[in-house]
Point group: C2
């Protein structure tokens, strides 16, 4: 039983108060005698963050040498470069993902959804690595694994069997990838993805980079299957760039269907291409949440395991300038992320798991725009990091 | 005479070497006996940064209270809100700009172009404040002032006279603002702006937020006047958003004319709207350089006086992922900024002013994507900051 009394903290930047934790959960009422006390020094209290779309297995940020990126411009260039680099270097997804998961925890993230590569080169090696990381982090950080066919399913025979194996081994979610643009046979691709979901009784999270009407067509097929298979509330579409570059009327038609089916959107809010706008999605009552995508991997040199930085980038991408808008950007990396990914017992209300972050900021908006050091990170009521450094 | 021998540094991430400074400038040859030595510990050496477009006078980042942003969506809302907020709070542009200039220096920026508001409410008060800051920073940081009619010239009688006064007082550059969208009379606006430039023999830097063909029309008029008045190489267009949302053929036609006239572009590379793409501008041999725009002011809560962060945002906006592309993003906040603004004696070659930054990074790209603390900042050969803190 983990008990803690956090004295003098300002939840979400509001009035200073004390926060009681009993048995690892936020509790109401007075603190029993003997409860350990931590002085919050008037710091801003936030619920610990949710990383809704990353690739723990891909990162190179823990390696001693800087990886010089010389990759070509097409998505296929990036996929091929990565597969070849891995084969050449013997990249260890277990080591990489553990280093990244720990960095996320030190920066205040206690829930992570990670897509994890499954392909005919690496087999389920990455799944094994990230499953080991999940075990190592158990009790400190909740990690969801998406079995992700990064190199496609149809072009490499045996990938469907590997995905099936990954799900049997413990992957939580069935992944998918660009049914038209990469797979070139959307029906066959989606039938495999949704077939695996049905077989294993697991949800779906599909990477959909496809632009414009092609992406809208793939999305249409995804929604059709979500309804036909009764998978309401169990499907996420990651990126959904098409929702940023089709006419608003078409976009709103798709959003209305997504809302009715409880299909959520994971966004990284990239600056360089059209994206689903957070305000439009929320107006349509579609859950949209944030993620970093890969962090310092063979795809991109950018990224940081800091969800406040991702909230800032979501705010910048969506031109969120008002404090109430910046709060929405923060929601994308906190409550909306928990809702979209299905992480339970989230938040600052009594009964929620006591996953908490303290930062030195006057307001929630300031925390997002300045991304101050994490003074304290609490997971399940236990203090796990101070001043950015893990305690264990 | 400021002499210094920087031992064991890696210029731009290259091979470790020693760098000699004599009389405040980078020098070749062996160090004379008695030259003060600083151990660079193998750190990455960069030329100090150039902030090409900011508003030192507007910031609220030094104030004790967080400014809650509740401003409306239109540019006019932001202009009016700011003017009213200032009148209400007695905002001191001198104090604000000095705090911000010092923060820029601590983060490695030794050259700054600041637009400074001139309007019928504040008169030339902001110019006076930033001129005082320029004096205070003399020898440490070079600050250019643009006399900037933030509330327009035509709608507020007397603004032209105030701009004239500001230029007589020491402002270096004539500013302008959206000749069509805000001023609603592009010819009269530009005639005043270019008339002041002619009268004072000073260059021009015009804020052009106007989108699409309207912006392209204003740009066309600006280029026409640049040629007619022989102002080649003395005009900057800030933002130039229109170049991001007109057909490529039209864009390239304008870029070709800009190249021929030596008209440069200042970009903040915002994530939320079309922008001139850096690659297209450079392909057309148009100088494009970076700036933060306002930092934590009544317009926006975002921003940081860190040009490495701006380089990262430029990289993200332009989808610069390869190391050679990230180097271009850095060029926008260094050499291209110096060229576009006309800051002289810039760079790491012998003869250049010894304005230098040391950071802990394995490569230039890593410095941009991780934005590490500034271990050392040198201005004119003098060590002015260590580990992010100014020495004086």
């Amino acid at each position: 039983m983990t008990d803690l009394l956090l004295r003098n903290v300002r939840p979400m930047g509001g009035t200073a108060t004390d926060l009681l934790v009993r048995g690892g959960r936020i509790a109401a009422g007075p603190a029993p005698a003997g409860t350990p006390v931590e002085d919050g020094r008037g710091l801003l209290l936030l619920p610990a963050f949710v990383e809704g779309h990353t690739h723990l297995d891909k990162t190179t940020f823990h390696l001693p040498d800087w990886l010089v990126n010389e990759v070509g411009p097409r998505i296929e260039d990036k996929i091929d470069t990565e597969r070849e680099w891995r084969a050449r270097t013997g990249h260890d997804a277990g080591v990489a993902s553990l280093a990244m998961a720990r960095a996320f925890l030190a920066a205040g993230t206690t829930r992570v959804r990670s897509h994890v590569d499954v392909d005919t080169s690496g087999g389920t090696r990455h799944i094994e690595g990230v499953l080991a990381t999940r075990e190592a982090m158990r009790g400190l950080q909740e990690i969801q694994l998406v079995a992700f066919p990064q190199s496609g399913i149809l072009g490499r025979q045996g990938t469907d069997t590997l995905l099936d194996a990954a799900l049997s081994m413990g992957a939580d979610i069935v992944g998918g990838l660009d049914p038209c643009a990469i797979e070139r046979d959307p029906v066959r691709h989606l039938d495999i993805v949704f077939g695996l979901a049905e077989k294993h009784g697991k949800p779906v999270d599909i990477h959909l980079h496809e632009p414009g009407t092609m992406g809208a067509f793939s999305l249409d097929l995804i929604l059709e299957r979500t309804r036909a298979l009764g998978m309401e509330g169990r499907v996420v579409v990651s990126h959904a760039f098409c929702l940023g570059d089709i006419p608003e009327r078409d976009r709103d038609g798709l959003l209305a269907r997504m809302a009715a089916l409880g299909v959520a959107i994971a966004t990284t809010a990239p600056a360089s291409r059209p994206v689903p706008l957070v305000a439009a999605c929320r107006a349509a009552v579609v859950t949209i949440f944030g993620g970093n995508d890969g962090i310092r991997d063979t795809w991109t040199p950018y990224g940081s395991p800091d969800m406040l930085e991702r909230a800032m980038l979501i705010g910048l991408r969506n031109n969120f300038r008002r404090d109430d808008e910046v709060a929405i950007a923060f929601d994308c990396v906190s409550a909306a992320g928990a809702k979209g990914c299905g992480f339970e017992d989230y938040g600052l209300e009594p009964g929620a798991r006591a996953d908490l972050v303290l930062v030195d900021a006057r307001s929630l908006a300031e925390a997002v725009v300045t991304r101050p050091p994490r003074r304290l990170v609490v997971s399940g009521g236990r203090i796990v990091a101070r001043d950015g450094a893990l305690l264990a």
